[in-house]
Amino acid sequence: MRGHAGLTVHRADSGLKRQEIRVRSSISAALCALVFWAVPAGAQLSITGEWAGRYHEDFDDRVPGDVNGDFTGVPINDAARFYAETWDVRRVNVLEHQCQPYNLPHIYRGPLQFRIWEEKRPQTQEIIAYKIYIGTYMQSRTIWMDGRPHPSEYAPHTSMGFSTGEWFGDTLKVTTTHIKKEFYRRSGLPSSDQTQVEEYYVRHGNLMSQTMIITDPVYLSEPYVNSQEFELMERGNQNWLYNCEYVMEVPQPRHQVPHYLPGENPFLEEWANTFGTPFDAIFSGAPSTYPEYAPQIEDMVNEADNE
């Protein structure tokens, strides 16, 4: 009697035959289990396609862009405050900065469209990685899904960083390190090259939510949390090209770096003054991001009125 290769047995009594059948059944079951166990990624929600931002949330911050002195909602620390105080928006006109891409925690905050596709292992059809092309600044991003570790801390940093992902139910969690320094806000809130980002993607039909939890030991005192919504585009290939060209936009002395010395920034309190909000409430960072801070604002306004 012949069974599977390597499992051929020759037994006369029926008891041994039954044992052989049990062994065969067990092996078949194990093989079936192995086959189905190897394709869990195929059961995940698909996030592929071309997506466009929806800007109903934080519109002023994300589309027209920041105004001078808007530091609200970001848990900045003293180092970030010092940076913001000396920031001059004209620095983006300096040759080196004109085409500087937004980094990962910043790029999803602005107007953008992006395309996601999957790279699969040919033999198993497991998802090795999600690939993303972001139209703004023509950035390419890979989210590795194969369990590889993050590289050494001395590995090169890029604007999009190094990302790994993992599904938890229908939520994709993405962890990104090795991100180049840039800004959280163009009003002069900096991000450092020690920034790390956790993203959580949840798809609901043709909408996808992204929640970002950003940590930065250099410029943030607490995690900075924000969220964005994206909509699947029915017509594809609408991604932008960003053929940015360096020129002398505004004639100015070579090597000049626009800045203000501490205490000399005339626009620092502009946003506070425009909206009649105490400057401390705008510049205090983490405490002002919590609801229990509201009574303090009221007290500050009353104090100012009484003076």
Partner: protein, 132 residues
């Protein structure tokens, strides 16, 4: 209702042409609640992304000739409005109205409208002739 329409218009405006590329904030760079006007000779037209620039030699308020940097839309966005790299030439005499820069020493303006004296060519007066 008005607020909703304004919001829709702003979003459409921002995304028209598929290029809302502001690498800096206009509100932070210019006094958006003020306008200024210059008339002079075009010395350089930088038709490019993320934003085009027109450099004009024109007198300031004191009558001194200055080189003004006038910021305009990105090449893609202006292209969708019929503006090309050949639309303006050095030597063209133009009148420009725009928002003045926050630092007067920069002699910088954000373009709101342009008119060329020789043939009346204009930009900024017709619907949709804006940039972001």
């Amino acid at each position: 209702m008005k607020a909703k329409l304004l919001m829709a218009a702003l979003i459409l405006g921002a995304l028209a042409g598929g290029q809302a590329w502001a690498h800096h904030s206009f509100a932070a760079t210019y006094f958006e609640d003020r306008t200024t006007q210059i008339e002079g000779r075009l010395v350089q037209f930088l038709f490019r992304n993320p934003h085009s620039f027109v450099h004009i030699e024109a007198p300031d308020d004191d009558g001194n000739l200055q080189r003004w940097a006038v910021e305009w839309g990105g090449a893609g966005q202006l292209g969708s409005q019929g503006v090309t790299s050949a639309t303006l030439r050095p030597g063209d005499v133009v009148t420009i109205v725009g928002n003045p820069g926050r630092n007067p020493a920069d002699h910088r303006i954000r373009m709101l409208s342009l008119r060329r004296t020789s043939d009346g060519f204009g930009w900024g007066q017709a619907p949709g002739e804006t940039f972001n």
